[in-house]
């Protein structure tokens, strides 16, 4: 009979040696180091490696130049890595700024007076209502394009979604009984926000921040591609892609293919990193 009892346990599963949290963390760490590696190599590789060399003009991908070379004879692999590096740092700064804005605005909307809440919701609707790219172009252009324009543009357009999530989360926490108790124990709403509410926001904030990365990077590249972003001297992915447009028809596919692919890979890696962090930090799935 005892072996039959084993059949009862539908919820019983084989014990896996490496548990899920370990796997998730290892995976997240791996992604983190890949991204860090790309960033550092881009920043550390000497500019001499992308000096124009007309003897090696427009070479197809080979062992020596895995991503081929462009019309000025520059190695596309080095250019791509350098471009990604710039993209990552732009994305990092812009999404951090965005997430911090989102945190402040979201908490302010949820804990402040009702007119403030209405006003913030109105601003969120306004920012979300205008087509993203148009708004980005306008802001970047108004701020004088270049690195500064892109950073400001991306930073001030991406906070809305996260701000909404944080606002509703704060409202939900704020209606908990222990908040009411805390008030009656004589604590100010500032004290309650700092001690009760903000610690609950940490997971949302980190996940939101990481998931903002891919957006920021994509929009930075898009903006640059359209010519409203980084200047042409900078080795940005957007620049590479927009240059390559001219030569695609002449069969030089590698100019667009590898940089584009690498951009997608980096974006996906960030996305996976965010999802993994979510699994670890979200209390509902934390024990699975």
């Amino acid at each position: 009979m005892s072996d039959m009892t084993a059949a009862v346990s539908g919820a019983q599963r084989r014990r896996i040696f490496v548990n899920r949290r370990t796997k998730t963390i290892l995976f997240a760490a791996l992604i983190f180091f890949v991204i860090l590696g790309v960033y550092l190599s881009g920043a550390l590789l000497s500019d001499d490696l992308i000096q124009a060399d007309f003897s090696k003009k427009a070479l197809k991908p080979s062992l020596e130049h895995p991503f081929g070379t462009d019309l000025l004879g520059r190695d596309m692999l080095v250019r791509t890595v350098k471009g990604l590096s710039v993209s990552i740092s732009v994305g990092m700064i812009a999404s951090s700024v965005s997430a911090v804005i989102a945190l402040f605005v979201g908490v302010a909307a949820a804990t402040g007076r009702s007119w403030l809440d209405h006003f913030i919701n109105w601003v969120i609707d306004l920012v979300m209502g205008i087509p993203h790219t148009v708004l980005l172009i306008l802001i970047s252009f108004a701020c004088g394009k270049g690195l500064k324009g892109v950073l400001i543009g991306v930073a001030v357009t991406h906070w809305t979604g996260l701000a909404r999530i944080i606002r509703s989360e704060v409202l939900q926490i704020g209606s908990q009984q222990y908040i009411g108790v805390s008030k009656k124990l004589g604590h100010s709403s500032w004290w309650i926000t700092v001690h009760h509410i903000l610690p609950h926001m940490v997971p949302q904030f980190i996940i939101g921040l990481i998931l903002l990365f891919p957006h920021a990077i994509m929009h930075e590249s898009g903006l640059t591609f359209l010519g409203f972003g980084l200047s042409p001297e900078q080795p940005a992915i957007g620049i590479i892609l927009s240059e390559s447009m001219k030569y695609l028809s002449s069969g030089m596919w590698w100019l667009a293919f590898f940089p584009g692919l690498m951009l997608v890979v980096i974006v996906l890696l960030f996305d996976r990193l965010g999802e993994n962090m979510k699994k670890i930090l979200d209390p509902y799935s934390a024990h699975e």
Partner: protein, 220 residues
């Protein structure tokens, strides 16, 4: 000190009256049982008395004066579900520190074990958590304790433990106790007098009028 409700009326926006023309008063040191059928607004009344809700009509007075909205409240509420009244991310020590009640004598008075302080709420049972809720409400400025079905979710041994501890403290400090309960045997054991809310609450007379406006901000 005297806790008093005068002509209290309450309803949620658009809803029917839950409380109407409720008059009630109790003195410090008294132990009052609040009984009555389900759905007569017992929980609503204690929430109003403790300031968790704002009355639509009438007023709540402490020694003849309206209660301060800010600052430490002399009327403290202990609810039915202790796990909801404690921040799940806090260690129990911090819960006590929040009200400044992390003191040797308090731990002893309520039978709180030293080792619980380093645990999270989910690692303690309802009865153990409820001790913390009582402990943090028993600071010097508390004059009235309202216990809303405080022990309904607890087993009888824990119930007897917690009430015995609480009665000792309430007696020692001359605190007024208002206990909401369905258990008449418990009310007989704990209270000096009982009030039946069905007799004090006049919602039946008010049914016709209903609550139309003015109570939009009834919730806090």
């Amino acid at each position: 000190m005297r806790l008093e409700a005068r002509n209290l009326g309450f309803c949620y926006a658009g809803g029917p009256w839950i409380l109407k023309d409720v008059n009630f008063s109790m003195e410090e040191g008294e132990r009052v049982g609040l009984v009555g059928p389900s759905g007569y607004g017992k929980s609503t009344l204690v929430k109003l008395l403790a300031g968790y809700l704002e009355p639509c009509e009438g007023e709540i007075l402490l020694d003849g004066k309206p209660m301060e909205k800010k600052g430490v409240c002399p009327v403290q509420l202990i609810c039915q579900h202790p796990e909801k009244a404690i921040n799940p991310r806090w260690k129990m020590k911090k819960v006590l520190e929040e009200s400044g009640m992390y003191r040797e004598e308090v731990l002893e008075a309520l039978g709180i074990e030293e080792e619980w302080l380093e645990r999270y709420p989910r690692e303690l049972s309802g009865g153990e958590l409820q001790r913390f809720c009582v402990a943090r409400s028993l600071f010097g400025g508390t004059h009235f304790l309202l216990a809303d079905e405080m022990s309904t979710m607890l087993d009888v041994i824990t119930q007897a433990q917690i009430w015995n501890l609480m009665l000792r403290e309430v007696e020692k400090r001359k605190i007024g106790l208002l206990a909401v309960t369905h258990n008449m045997a418990l009310a007989d054991c704990v209270c000096t007098r009982t009030i039946n809310l069905a007799q004090v609450n006049h919602i039946k007379c008010a049914e016709e009028s209903g609550c139309k406006n003015g109570c939009e901000y009834g919730t806090v």
